[in-house]
Symmetry: C2
Subunit: 520 residues, 2 copies
């Protein structure tokens, strides 16, 4: 990456981190003890936004679907599981150390940052060749670097009162494997028939050598993943490919386009499937569905693209992978991954456990090993960062967080115009009424303008003001965050109106005209 781009990124990330700390979205973990690199704590607003993201995802991809069920498995697992999955052997980064100042660096990042060479999927030998060829030295003290060695990214611990190989355990680096180890139990208990998915939201841990970029590369994070299992002979038989979905347009950036030095190109899912750019119908279906999920929750479609992994980027278990990337102010970055994991994982666990994990296909009367043709997988924290950054808007006179109402920590804020003449009393009543239905914030401190500004900054989509007219006719004003427009409505209609606004069933402008008619 170029110096200028790196600088731009740093200053932007710093601004967002500062904003998050000030408003109570995110705090550096253990800051009173000087911080803890790669760890962040979510504050009051952050905890709500993060919970909303997870709840909306779970609602959409688990509860609303008959073909997907969820699980919630452990984050500490025994050695054997991660040996079977391939992570003990392959989940590593190349590490170099400065002989002088003893600082340690992730060698591939060092090469990328210092030389601007993309080195995804490079071997340790190649890393050492490049370091030698370019006489790369410690970026901190210019000291000489050691040869690179592999460093496993899994945090380890010991379970029980003895510390030895038999008690060695790892903190899971991904949630996926627990879906595979529970595959048969889940399938049987929930009486699932192919095709079906198993979903999970939960923590994962990676001992990154150089955690960086705020929530982007952390050591402790959260994932939302689905393993979607299909019959190996039916990779292209997806019953959910509606016309609407086939017509859905994405910015597609195939491996071929990247190799040819082309830009990404907007095309429909239909075109991408027909031209074989996306290999299987199921993979295309899931890619479009998740891409759409981001858009429906307010993310600017022009800032999204689906990028195929180059061959050398593929993980040890993947046949074909598509990332969804977001164009941050500092460049395109992965926010969602979707690998075709084939039957790699179930096979590995069958081999290491000696247990039969196959599925009995009633149609053919044969045992088969299902394929994970698509694994929609994303970091909750990156989703958080995308929603936040995409919503963050600096206007002439204010900072406003244009979060989708469904994501907003507070759906409404309630203000008495002044804190006297029973306006505050009335306002509190309305706040209590609204709290039965939505998260509501009551504020009576400072000027109305100042109170609006505070809510704009934290993304509250609707502010309700109680004024003298309220006492006369039981009406209040609703003010919309993004447009600053206001409309007066009856208290008796407030819950329904706010509810419809959040769900997107009516637009703010529509209330105006409706009410004007009603008042006329």
């Amino acid at each position: 990456m170029e110096k200028k781009e790196e600088k731009l990124k740093k200053s932007f990330i710093e601004k967002i981190a500062r904003f998050c700390k000030e408003k109570g979205f995110v705090f550096p973990c253990c800051e009173i003890y000087g911080g803890f690199s790669g760890f962040y704590d979510y504050g009051p607003l952050g905890a709500e936004l993060k919970k909303n993201i997870k709840d909306l995802w779970w609602e959409e991809f688990v509860r609303k679907r008959d073909d997907i069920v969820g699980i919630d498995a452990c984050t500490i697992n025994p050695f054997v599981l991660w040996k079977a999955s391939g992570h003990v052997d392959s989940f590593t980064d190349p590490l170099v150390e400065c002989r002088k100042c003893k600082k340690r660096f992730r060698a591939d990042s060092l090469i990328e940052d210092s030389l601007g060479i993309a080195v995804d999927g490079i071997t340790i030998e190649q890393v050492n060749e490049i370091i030698a060829k370019h006489s790369l030295r410690c970026p901190s003290c210019k000291g000489e670097l050691t040869s690179a060695r592999t460093f496993n990214l899994m945090f380890k611990t010991y379970v029980g009162a003895v510390e030895d190989q038999s008690s060695l355990a790892f903190l899971r680096p991904e949630t996926a494997q627990l879906i595979f180890t529970n595959f048969k139990f889940v399938q049987k208990a929930a009486r699932l028939k192919l095709p079906f998915g198993i979903a999970q939201i939960g923590r994962a841990y990676r001992n990154e050598i150089s955690p960086r970029d705020f929530l982007f590369r952390m050591r402790e994070f959260e994932q939302m993943e689905i393993e979607y299992f299909v019959h190996p002979d039916k990779l292209n038989q997806c019953p959910y490919l509606t016309k609407e979905l086939l017509d859905f347009e994405m910015n597609i950036y195939s491996a071929e386009m990247q190799e040819k030095g082309e830009e990404h190109r907007k095309m429909s899912l239909r075109e991408a499937l027909e031209k074989g750019i996306i290999s299987t119908a199921w993979h295309g279906y899931w890619l479009a569905l998740v891409y759409k999920w981001f858009i429906e929750l307010g993310v600017n479609p022009e800032k999204l693209r689906a990028r195929q992994h180059l061959k050398e980027e593929l993980s040890h278990y993947a046949l074909e992978t598509w990332d969804i990337e977001y164009r941050f102010p500092f460049g395109w970055k992965e926010i969602h991954g979707m690998a075709n994991r084939t039957d790699y994982d179930l096979k590995q666990h069958m081999k290491f456990s000696g247990k039969d994990l196959s599925y009995f296909d009633e149609e053919t009367g044969k045992k088969i090993l299902p394929y994970v043709v698509a694994e929609p997988s994303q970091g909750v924290d990156r989703a958080f960062l995308v929603f936040l950054i995409d919503a963050y808007t600096e206007e002439e006179d204010r900072v406003v967080l244009k979060l989708h109402p469904k994501l907003a920590p507070y759906k409404v804020a309630v203000f008495p115009l002044v804190k006297r003449d029973k306006l505050d009393e009335k306002a509190k009543q309305i706040h209590e009424l609204l709290k039965k239905h939505f998260t509501s914030f009551y504020d009576e401190k400072g000027s109305i303008g100042r109170r609006y500004a505070r809510q704009d900054e934290i993304g509250t989509p609707f502010c309700i003001t109680i004024d003298y007219q309220t006492l006369e006719d039981n009406t209040v004003t609703i003010r919309e965050r993004d447009t600053k427009k206001q409309v007066r409505v009856k208290i008796s209609e407030l819950v329904e109106i706010i509810s419809k606004l959040i769900e997107g069933e009516i637009k703010f402008e529509e209330i105006t005209s409706e009410l004007l008619e009603g008042n006329a």
Copy 2:
């Protein structure tokens, strides 16, 4: 504990664990690899029930309250934090090893199980005296035991590429400390004024020497905690003590009653406060509130009691502690703890961090250190177990899980009477309609009786059956799980009726009469 009681407990726990595995509530973690002691994975139904418990708690104690905000902090923390909190030095259990078979045991549990002596808060020296006096030997091979030593229950790991004291970290054994380290940031960002609380739901980890009793004592579990901060001079000024709450009756089991060998006694919160049985108004308020929470979610009030810790039971940070206990088929067990932590934790973190964590009291113009006069704290998994066991009912002809509708994984199930004559088509439409509002399960396999039975077992409160009459007049039957009663309602009213039934706004009997009138 007596042998008979121990046996009863074991067989009951085994039955419940088997039930949970079969139905997809809970699976032993990594069972395909022979299991992983102290770790359990939640299956499809378990993940939903657990999520419902957490969501209802968050809704009640965070979102609906103006005085409490939530956070979501990291589970791995540096050594210094747990040194400051006292856990490095005090969070230990006494460990003995068999010299012959090398098995390790928790010495206090061993003494309790083998000798029936209660040894809470006992010192290592006392443990060794008892073992010597009674010539206690290995329960497994009768070999000689070593002297007891302290064993720290925190899982440790190393963060970063070097493994030494500087990178030593622990998996948090409780969520509470992260509330204290973030105290100032949260208070400032959310502009909180005393009294206020900070809540958190999240994982915690304890390397138990002898994990046991299914979800009851696990090595990885989840907590729901609130640290409630009050002005140290206002420990008895609780503005939320309504008459309703003061009249609320609990089974109270004070330290004095225990010492005198008395039984617990039913009394109102008012009486407990007036007699000084519960020392502070705030402690009483929180105890009643949480006690009520369990009852409102369907737990049998006769099986709950509030038990005060004996002096020797108190944790290193606690001045006064009240547990809420549930009477399991194998005895009373703690399901909720509530310590008065005073200003112990903030003081410790001030001392170790050198940072000012005090609060500026605008009223007096002085800096003060707030008191945590009550810390409502509970394990999600124990709450799960209580709700499940309390709901688990064996009737003559069926097993039925009488979960409160708000807790039930599926709120409704939809069946076509038969899978033909467009009944299945119609049923699917109704299922789709209901899914927009509730978790709904569609089932067309097997007899109606078999389908009802399947839903009874997993706690689905309402089953909707579509029959030939449905095609004629757009009515369906709703069948209530607990009473097996049925009533016919219009499809157009279905969503509203189910919604009101779940919220407890109407009773099932009321639909009948209402509809009969409507039909008359």
